[in-house]
Subunit: 324 residues, 2 copies
């Protein structure tokens, strides 16, 4: 049985083994730069672990797993242009290091490379894997568009938000598991259960991210807190607060959202006070717990021995107790 | 036997039948806008014609043909951002009508949709078609990058230029024919011959485009002439001139290329005089003729009756005598 750590090492080794042409350098250098930057390789490793539930021979899942990692990195590259993010994993993003045109085109090429690796999966499952991948890739684009829409939409509901993070974040985690399972020879029921496991885990993960921005221990979390608050980012916390708040509290919240100039620490403090007043932390935690429970239930139902599911269960637990 | 005209109608009908979700509107509206704009549908029609060489049942080639048209339109959409082109087929380009972020993301979604249609091709040829499509898609990106590189490269050779237009323009025409042939059940030799037919035709087509910018009858050509000259675009004509010109003529050419301010008509006149002096028109025409001859030779070798190849031969001839 493969461990998560071993799977991460396998993916890393294969990623570094990807051969790209020297020229045109401005097309392929950014791809080398992105692939070469340090990352956890969670999604492709999950594909390998899911495959390993059904077979000891995980080779058939490596190429589609690489495709998933290439696709994930393509989305980060293009999202960074759209979100005007200058840094990615502590390094300049591609459009800053080179320029926007190069970031657009090398991103396109990365998406095509992802399909090249999908097409290398065993012929017997190609059509099925391709269908899952196509559907998921389009959903991720939808998620990014909804996310951009929300910036100027003042009436985002909790339901809208959950749908958006499902599309933007969790369907790719879910699809990674499903594609791995398909490559391992899983039946439809098991691969769907793994999809649900990943889907709920992915949503829970994003909600926890929202929570950590506000409530994490800054020493452990390793980045400055309150970034979402400063940017008025419509997180689960803010959307829930806007729904629950009444009277003076609602007025204060809207007032701070509208302010163009403010003291950073003061704004964070006001928001945290409001969140505390409305029990937003507990509300979010209970939602995370419910999603996590749902995810575990799906994993339990997968028709392989409990022992074989240990790594995936362990991975899920680690995610849920993370502090960064 | 299907005619080009009928094939164009079939493609148009199917394109208009593509169902896209209503939401997120800002993701799918630009795709509807692009697909809905009038175009000749040359590439997908060529796929249908190539398929029809080998079978009367061309249904199997329709989905990959739609994929090719979607891919082609995706490249135009992203190229328009990179080239800062405000107009496409007489209408505002997507990044002008909406914005750059929307153009990036809806382009990405169009590329994914293209793969969705590729994945709908008959299972027996899926793997082969996917391989041709992946290779071609990446080459088109390479062509666009080389084209952008050339803008700031003062030492582009004729060989570099021909390679660039082969990648940027002609491999997709070639692949359209090859994919159509594969879907029609053609053997490797025939599908490769059709690829070569399309490849040479595509390069000839681009060289003719370069020529028409300078020598077309403006009434027939329907657009203002000399645009490439004004922009110092490294066309076959300019690159050949920079190689052939000597002494005063070379000095004059370089001088006009460097000028930031000039009278538009005067610059065009100077360039045309130089081109005439160096016999650039005849040089380009003879290159086109050679490529066209090569293309015809490949088509002749395809192992189906002369009668069946009539539409493709007719199409090639029409391309070569076009004045717009």
């Amino acid at each position: 049985m493969y461990t998560l750590k071993i799977c991460q090492e396998i993916i890393e080794k294969h990623l570094r083994g990807i051969k790209l042409p020297e020229n045109p350098a401005l097309l392929y250098d950014p791809i080398r730069y992105v692939i070469g930057s340090e990352a956890k390789r969670i999604r492709p490793s999950l594909a390998l672990l899911a495959c390993n539930l059904f077979t000891d021979l995980i080779d058939g899942s490596i190429n589609p797993a690489l495709a998933i990692e290439l696709f994930h990195n393509f989305t980060l590259l293009h999202d960074d242009i759209m979100d005007n993010s200058d840094l990615r994993r502590g390094h300049p993003s591609v459009h800053k290091k080179w320029n926007i045109n190069i970031a657009i085109l090398s991103g396109d090429a990365m998406l095509i490379k992802a399909y090249e690796y999908i097409s290398k999966c065993p012929g017997s499952v190609l059509s099925e894997v391709l269908a899952v991948f196509n559907k998921t890739a389009l959903e991720v684009c939808e998620g990014q568009q909804f996310d951009m829409d929300f910036e100027s939409n003042t009436e985002v509901t909790v339901k809208d938000y959950l749908k958006m993070i499902e599309l933007k974040t969790s369907v790719l985690i879910a699809a990674s598991l499903k594609i791995g399972a398909i490559c391992g020879g899983a039946g439809e029921r098991d691969s769907d259960l793994l999809y649900q496991f990943g889907r709920n885990l992915g949503i829970a993960f994003q909600l926890q991210d929202d929570l950590l921005d506000v409530y994490a221990d800054p020493v452990v979390f390793g980045k400055s807190m309150g970034g979402d608050i400063i940017a008025n980012k419509k997180t689960y916390l803010l959307i829930s607060s806007l729904i629950l708040a009444k009277g003076e509290i609602l007025k204060s919240l809207n007032d701070w959202i509208r302010r163009k100039e403010f003291n950073r620490d003061e704004k964070i403090k006001v928001f945290i006070d409001i969140y505390n007043n409305l029990n937003i932390k507990e509300l979010t935690e209970s939602r995370i717990k419910a999603l996590f429970g749902e995810a575990q239930l799906s994993l339990d139902k997968v028709s392989v021995s409990k022992e074989k599911k240990r790594e995936l269960r362990e991975f899920a637990s680690q995610l849920m107790i993370r502090e960064k």
